[in-house]
Symmetry: C2
Subunit: 258 residues, 2 copies
């Protein structure tokens, strides 16, 4: 087991915990009221907002670091998480804000601190169920909340670009992986699922085409209809079937264009 340090302690250069020059940034997508949302933090001493992120322990797989950062932020396990791009511009530093944080925390030798150097960042995107996450800020941020993707505030460094790239990747991934259900509760209607796809792709979809394609993956289970008592027909509820999913994955889930 790795020793637990507070976020401030982790910055103490004496501990030398992390891989130098590499960070992880997580674009955590949620869906609520027909809006795609992303989880943002307000770092202390900073006017701009930031993606939840962190560093990679020297003996830790980058993938595990992303999972750890995501769990720490959402308190959720078994989340759909996917690496999508390495952001490698030579200009990626966050001098000013980090310096102030270090000084306030009584960290020694601030000028030469590793966090002031250039960072290459591995971008991961996650799909979570909106109501399962209770945004809470930590000791080095003052706010944490869901923000509509089309109303992003000012973001630090290249975090806006990271979110845009995450969205483009998600849009493409939807074409060959039926991952949209990760944004929904365990039981959902076909209409809810279609609405998620329409929001992510930014366009209306034909209802019967959508239903046919989604069902063709064979990974949804249709639930027995509950007697609703009302005059209107209640819609069918579906749930995602993990066993069918892994079976389908084995047989090559991907739909090819050619």
């Amino acid at each position: 087991m790795r020793k637990k340090y507070s976020l401030i302690e982790q910055l103490n250069p004496e501990y030398d915990l992390f891989l130098p020059s590499l960070s992880v940034d997580c674009v955590i997508f949620g869906f609520h009221a027909n809006q795609l949302k992303v989880l943002l933090l307000k770092p202390e001493h900073h006017k701009k907002w930031a993606l939840p992120g962190g560093f990679v322990y020297k003996d830790e797989n980058v993938e595990d670091a992303a999972t750890r950062i995501l769990q720490h932020r959402t308190q959720l396990k078994d989340i759909f998480l996917k690496q999508f791009h390495l952001f490698g511009s030579a200009k990626r530093t966050r001098q000013k804000h980090a310096k102030k944080l270090l000084e306030d925390s009584g960290i020694p030798d601030v000028e030469n601190h590793w966090i002031l150097q250039r960072f290459v960042s591995a971008g991961y995107y996650a799909l979570v169920e909106y109501f399962n996450v209770h945004p809470t800020h930590d000791e080095i941020s003052t706010e944490c909340c869901w923000t509509d993707l089309d109303k992003l505030p000012e973001l630090i460094i290249d975090h806006k670009e990271i979110i845009e790239k995450a969205l483009r990747t998600l849009q493409l991934d939807l074409n060959y992986e039926p991952i949209g259900y990760n944004l929904l509760p365990a039981d959902f209607t076909m209409k809810e699922l279609q609405s998620i796809y329409e929001t992510i792709l930014g366009k209306k979809l034909d209802r019967s085409n959508f239903q046919r394609k989604i069902l063709s993956y064979g990974i949804l289970t249709k639930k027995e209809k509950q007697y609703s008592g009302g005059a209107h027909k209640a819609p069918f509820l579906y749930s995602f079937n993990k066993i069918k999913y892994y079976k389908a994955l084995k047989n090559g889930l991907e739909k090819e264009w050619y």
Copy 2:
């Protein structure tokens, strides 16, 4: 302009040229005799083969490092190059081979050398025209050659996994980006282009479907037929049209599945 160092000089820790713990590995694909091929190197003091790779200068964008490494290896400019994955396993080190190389090169303080530490590697794949590349090894490798993708020799660290991931990404990318032509000479027949797609995707494609889809991108130019003088009909030649391509990109080149 950056000062030029030889590959051995670059390893001298006194120069402190590179970002620590980050490397770049290039999967360079070529196509010849109906085979997809990949360019491999035999590092000195090593029984196994390796992908061409390198490190990122402290003031260099990761993307530029990949381009530089690729140009150094192929002597080609304007190559199709795409980042596809960051390989972040904590076990990525190449102790033995690197140690021997350092000792032989008279590098001081070998035990603590940065190259012996863990490296996270950014994977890029490139598509090049086979006959344009003249494989030549460098001062720290003994061989360099094209190898059939289905006859890979033993490879160092996770380089086999890197090649497999590159191929899977290329297969998916072909679904929404018409990049296959990068593997062909300036003028090519529809049959040659289809053969490339069939080889990459590992399956036969319907001729008229393929032609319809590829032409629907509107980025190929059909050449005037040359009088061949023979009894048989000569096939049409096509070339890739850069202006049309950038115009199509602007209008959203991607074909959506939904």
